[in-house]
């Protein structure tokens, strides 16, 4: 189909995307990797210091705690969070009364900014006038927990701000379910399969790719979770809710660019790792 006379146009059409890619992805990523090996304050020339920034990262408590938090959050995101979202997708797929309304409403927390959502939750969890504690106090009048600011609650308070909000995964899986041909279900019913068997033996395996995508998206957004923490606990109490983006921004503010970029490289590598591992687990690349 392509003709040589079009080649000029093809590359001209591709050019904006290539320029954007080079400026905002390729060059920054190369910069990240190269400057992470330097001591650099942004004013003076970067000084090569080998792996010192990485050594410092891995000997610093706040980073080690961030890794632990990321591991927990990643596991929770990949299991409970995605599991709940998939459950909702399957429930919606049954088209119960009001399913369209539920689907629309479930999207709302994703429509408003993460910053606003974090602040809403800060008030929601407030010990004095927050809804949650006042509800609990109806049952147990002496209940007093400052969710975002007490160990070990802070970690779970942060977790609760996103745990049930998996609408993106729900919609991806829901769309996949909708695209399953009704013939398959008909055939299964003729063969005597009950509803539970159809769900687990047919629908679930067919949604495998959608679920894997959901897991990847959910875990990578945990790696990059910044606003939620910055506007609530700032990583505290102590380092309880520390994560890598907070370390990154603090390092930028301290003009410790080499260190900041070393932590960014770690985020980048974790992102790639999640992709590779989930793809392996779900065997995505085998088809197509």
């Amino acid at each position: 189909m392509s003709k040589n006379r079009n080649l000029k146009w093809i590359y001209l059409f591709l050019a904006p995307s290539i320029i954007i890619f080079a400026m905002f992805y390729l060059v920054p990523i190369i910069t990240l990797f190269s400057t992470s090996l330097t001591k650099w304050d942004g004013f003076n020339e970067p000084k090569f210091i080998g792996l010192d920034n990485y050594i410092k990262l891995f000997t610093q408590d706040s980073f080690l705690i961030s890794l632990k938090n990321l591991a927990y959050w990643g596991i929770i995101a990949g299991t409970l969070h995605v599991g709940f979202a998939v459950l909702i997708a399957f429930l919606l797929h049954k088209k119960p009364f009001g399913w369209k309304f539920v689907r629309s409403v479930y999207m709302i927390p994703n429509i408003i900014s993460v910053a606003a959502w974090a602040m809403i939750y800060r008030f929601f969890f407030n010990n004095d006038f927050g809804i949650l504690n006042n509800l609990i106090r109806k049952l147990n009048p002496d209940f007093n927990v400052n969710w975002f600011f007490e160990s070990p609650f802070a970690f779970w308070a942060i977790t609760l701000t996103w745990l049930f909000y998996g609408v993106i995964v729900t919609l991806i899986v829901f769309n996949e379910l909708m695209s399953i041909s009704p013939d398959i279900h008909e055939a299964a019913k003729i063969d005597g399969a009950n509803e539970w068997q159809i769900t687990t033996k047919i629908n679930l395996p067919l949604c495998k790719n959608a679920i894997a995508t959901g897991i990847i998206l959910s875990i990578t957004s945990r790696i990059a979770m910044y606003e939620t923490i910055a506007l609530t606990t700032r990583g505290g109490p102590g380092d309880d809710t520390m994560n890598i983006p907070i370390i990154l921004v603090n390092a930028i503010n301290d003009m410790n660019y080499g260190y900041a970029n070393a932590s960014a490289v770690m985020m980048f590598l974790f992102g790639i790792m999640v992709l590779v591992i989930i793809n392996k687990l779900f065997g995505i690349n085998k088809e197509h």
């Binding site: 392509s2 119960p96 429509i111 900014s113 910053a115 990847i216 970029n261």
Partner: protein
């Protein structure tokens, strides 16, 4: 029994999704003392004083306008750029086509915050710090992966025969793109455009990093300021929060279908 637990779960979804927001909106009509003493009560009277004061103290119109203009321009430019890119990838064969597509879509996996420092430096070197155009540039790049997914698939779904017929008629490359393919790609363009718009509208991190002055402040960023200014007066705080979240919800209610489609489209390929 099965039915009950299903509806209970769905009710739970509805409650966790809108109850916190409704509580914020209701509280914005209560007095400070009412908020502190009885978080469940309904306001004793409805007045908009808190809203008026927030608008008087802060240039909310300006922040909303900034958010709107930055999000819109960035989304439109991005749409044009990525439509062009996705179009040639979908319709033509050329060297490096698959590599380009893979690279463009893999950008989805780069957490946006990792590039903070290089992009900070880049924007400074371009002398675009604290300018709307700097933020626009960053936002254009942010939608790359998802727009490429959506638009490539849209263009693939447009029959090849249309292009072939047009070429036989001697239509130029540009003409085929603008008059034949773009109009047919409208649903995909709308989907990608709305998704990018919403992401830009809510973006906080780079807005915080790349702007400083009041005249370039966006709505999500203004929230961080309320935090300090209004903590004397929770009524105003809740009013400010309401002002910040309502426009997004309104936009969504007008374009629900597209938004849901666009989000689901993220999963076109893992």
């Amino acid at each position: 029994m099965k039915k009950i637990s299903m509806y209970a779960t769905l009710l739970f979804v509805v409650i966790i999704s809108i109850f916190p927001i409704i509580w914020v909106i209701i509280s914005s009509f209560k007095t400070n003392a009412e908020i502190l003493n009885n978080p469940f009560s309904l306001p004793t009277s409805i007045n908009f004083n808190a809203y008026i004061e927030v608008f008087e103290q802060y240039d909310m119109m300006l922040y909303t306008w900034n958010s709107f203009i930055i999000s819109t321009i960035a989304s439109l430019i991005a749409l044009l750029c990525f439509a062009m890119g996705a179009y040639v990838i979908a319709k033509y064969n050329f060297k490096g086509k698959n590599l380009f597509y893979a690279l463009f879509t893999l950008t989805l996996l780069v957490p946006g915050h990792t590039k903070a420092q290089p992009i900070f430096s880049l924007i400074m070197n371009l002398d675009l710090y604290d300018k709307k155009s700097g933020l626009i540039l960053v936002y254009i790049s942010a939608g790359m992966a998802i727009s490429m997914f959506i638009l490539r698939n849209t263009f693939l779904s447009i029959p090849k025969e249309l292009n072939e017929a047009a070429e036989i008629d001697g239509a130029s490359f540009l003409r085929i793109f603008f008059t034949i393919n773009l109009p047919l790609a409208k649903p995909g363009l709308a989907t990608a455009g709305i998704l990018m718009f919403l992401n830009n509208w809510n973006e906080y991190f780079y807005a915080m990093l790349l702007t400083s002055s009041n005249s370039n402040r966006t709505l999500p960023l203004a929230l961080g300021f309320f935090n300090e200014s209004f903590s004397y007066d929770y009524t105003k705080m809740f009013a400010a929060l309401t002002i910040a979240i309502v426009p997004g919800i309104l936009i969504y209610s007008f374009a629900q279908e597209q938004v849901q489609q666009s989000v689901a489209a993220t999963g076109i390929k893992g």
